[in-house]
């Protein structure tokens, strides 16, 4: 089993699925000859040609809207939104159309389509190349939202997303693309959507995270173990919707304390729903308040390093929150 980077795992997953299933097409801005601005589709144009790897005009609503039509007529589109921040011109197509077509047609039509979007900050991308967009879409019934944190999960969950018969928003943290390496089997392995993973076993505090934050949570957990002897458990949600309530609640019921970590703005972020579920369904087990570490409530990540560092959640901020909760 070879060690690969996150982006290599994505690229390999795409290529293997396209070889297996001729109905899969890739479309998006610069996904062809250039291979995408992050090279996620590098080599696909050469291997599969311009009929299956389509450089679209600079129009996100069109990318999502035509993916809907293509999915209805026998294709399995995998669209790339160049940066998650640029999905919003296509918001109406994704939320009002893609998410609702199966329901509004009473099951007559379904959409096997996947939308990949690089998200997240800490890469000096400023307000419009750093956003976390999951909260807007995890609120929408009819969409599935996946956020892998390791190369192994990325390849496995991308395959499951592509094979899924409903629209899946697949979010890839830009900072993980080249900074993280891990074991990735060649070929297929089973990794269903909707399963969280306990990536670190602990007794005192449950730390819930996903994406880049799943790594920072582990770092923070190690730090508080070494420095303070605090035993923290880490749950990597991996799929935000459908949510794996069982794994989440089992961990919190065990530790009695829950810290939720997300990079997005705090108010109304995805972690709010996790907090609400835990507060309602694990109430009798809680020995401390459900707490959150999240991005501040300013519009988005600023460019200046000084301001970006101020904005970003990091292992130190998480460790402090674990300590505070453990001491509660």
């Amino acid at each position: 089993m070879a060690r690969k980077t996150f982006i290599e795992a994505i690229r390999e997953g795409l290529a293997e699925e396209m070889r297996r299933d001729p109905s899969i097409v890739v479309l998006g801005e610069d996904v062809g000859v250039k291979g995408g601005v992050f090279l996620a589709t590098d080599g696909l144009y050469a291997e599969f040609g311009e009929r299956r790897v389509i450089d679209t005009p600079l129009t996100e609503s069109m990318i999502i809207g035509t993916s809907i039509g293509a999915a209805v007529n026998g294709l399995r589109p995998v669209a790339e939104i160049q940066f998650a921040d640029f999905i919003f011109p296509g918001f109406n197509q994704l939320v009002q159309e893609a998410a609702r077509i199966r329901y509004r047609s009473n099951g007559a039509f379904g959409l096997p389509m996947t939308i990949r979007a690089p998200y997240g900050g800490g890469i000096h991308g400023a307000l419009y190349h750093s956003q976390s967009i999951e909260a807007f879409f995890t609120h929408v019934p009819g969409l599935k939202v996946v956020v892998p944190s390791t190369p192994y999960d990325a390849k496995g969950l991308l395959r499951s997303s592509i094979r899924d018969d409903d629209p899946v928003l697949f979010l890839e943290h830009k900072k993980l693309y080249r900074s993280v390496r891990g074991e990735v089997p060649d070929g297929e392995y089973d990794m269903p959507l909707g399963r969280a993973a306990v990536t670190r076993v602990g007794r005192q505090v449950t730390v819930v995270a996903y994406g880049m934050m799943a790594h920072y949570a582990l770092e923070a957990a190690d730090r508080v173990e070494q420095e303070d002897g605090i035993s923290a458990e880490v749950v990597d949600l991996r799929t935000l919707r459908p949510l794996d309530r069982e794994t989440l609640l089992a961990s919190v019921r065990k530790t009695g304390k829950c810290l939720i970590v997300y990079e997005d703005n705090r108010f109304g972020g995805y972690g709010a729903e996790i907090a609400a579920i835990v507060a309602e369904e694990a109430f009798d087990f809680l020995d401390g308040p459900v707490t959150r570490v999240a991005g501040p409530d300013v519009p988005a990540v600023p460019y200046s390093h000084v301001l970006e560092d101020w904005f970003m959640v990091n292992p130190a901020k998480i460790a402090d929150a674990i300590r505070a909760l453990a001491a509660y």
């Binding site: 009929r51 039509g69 293509a70 007529n73 109406n92 609702r100 009473n106 009819g142």
Partner: protein, 342 residues
């Protein structure tokens, strides 16, 4: 009139566009049927038996003329809320339409989940339509893209009003379809109003079709009351599409014979003269006279058709109204593929 004479007249009328008398009569029947069904909806609405009505009245001639150029069961249609005649011509039945009007469980468009006139039918390649206007052009472009990639020889046609044609999606869709010369036809049914907003406040030019040249595609204006003219324009567009020559924008100048919907009072913003002028552009009597003059529609046949349509409408309305409503427990279904995780 003698059959010999009428035969000549028939050939005369049909030959111009390559339609047989039976085809012409079939088109007339669909227009008249759509009108009668639509009028029944208003009757039901006033009687308090149908909560909401939105009409195709005045648009039927263009719709039926255009759809006659397509291959039902093979090509794809993405309709809009005035497409009653188009979906009937493409395969939906009057009962199907009335099931949607009453929001019944068996409604093939949505099982009673969407408002009336949000047509869709998987069995007839009619894609489910939503309320947000203009979005459908991208669905049709995607269907056309798949037809190209899969070499299915299918054409995708979609319909919308002129007000909706100002939505950004229409620009993005025409541009993409034109670049790839996709088999797409956009029909803009221009009735001069976007609810209460007159054309001059919606559009900077009288013709939406003028936008086509910016994408390097044909933009054709047809008189929506001229059924055969609409057919001819669509015929050319379909041939172009199948030949790989790309999309066509067909603008049909139609007339809105009702208020925008049963929730609207058009007298507040339309003058009596304007309303009278609208009535004068009704495609139904015009097509009837055209067929009669050509001897294609002889009086007996016209009476037979009228009787048949009346009973079909009675049947559709009465039968549909008697069908069961959806059950509450069904409301949770079809969020995702059955068996798929929710």
């Amino acid at each position: 009139m003698s059959d010999a004479v009428s035969d000549q007249r028939q050939r005369h009328l049909g030959d111009g566009v390559g339609l047989t008398d039976e085809q012409l009569l079939g088109m007339y029947r669909t227009i008249a049927l759509a009108r009668a069904l639509d009028q029944r909806m208003w009757v039901l609405n006033r009687a308090g038996r149908a909560a909401f009505v939105i009409s195709g009245q005045g648009h039927e001639g263009a719709q039926v003329g255009i759809v006659a150029a397509l291959r039902p069961g093979h090509d794809w249609m993405v309709p809009y809320y005035r497409s009653i005649a188009a979906v009937l011509a493409f395969g939906m039945s009057p009962r199907d339409v009335m099931l949607g009007q009453f929001g019944k469980a068996a409604d093939p468009s949505s099982g009673g989940r969407q408002m009336p006139a949000h047509y869709g039918h998987a069995g007839h390649n009619i894609l489910t339509s939503s309320s947000p206007v203009g979005t459908q052009i991208l669905h049709a472009a995607g269907i056309a893209l798949a037809a190209r990639v899969r070499d299915t020889d299918q054409v995708a046609i979609t319909f919308m009003g002129e007000g909706s044609s100002n939505q950004g999606d229409v620009h993005e869709g025409l541009n993409f379809a034109a670049i790839h010369r996709l088999p797409l036809i956009l029909v803009v049914e221009n009735n001069g109003y976007s609810i209460s907003v007159p054309a001059e406040k919606e559009l900077a030019r009288p013709d939406v079709a003028d936008r086509a040249s910016g994408y390097g595609i044909p933009g054709v204006v047809v008189d929506g009351a001229d059924v055969l003219g609409a057919y001819a324009a669509a015929r050319t567009a379909v041939d172009r599409a199948r030949a790989g020559d790309g999309p066509t924008l067909i603008e049909a100048k139609v007339t809105r014979l009702t208020s925008h919907s049963s929730d609207d009072q058009e007298s507040k913003y339309r003058s009596p003269e304007d309303l009278a002028a609208a009535k004068a552009r009704d495609p139904l009597p015009r097509f009837r006279e055209q067929l009669a003059r050509a001897g294609v529609l002889v009086p007996e046949r016209e009476r037979e058709l009228a009787d048949e349509i009346a009973s079909v409408v009675d049947d559709a309305a009465d039968w549909a109204e008697a069908q069961p409503d959806p059950t509450p427990d069904s409301a949770l279904r079809h969020v995702f593929a059955e068996g798929g995780e929710a």
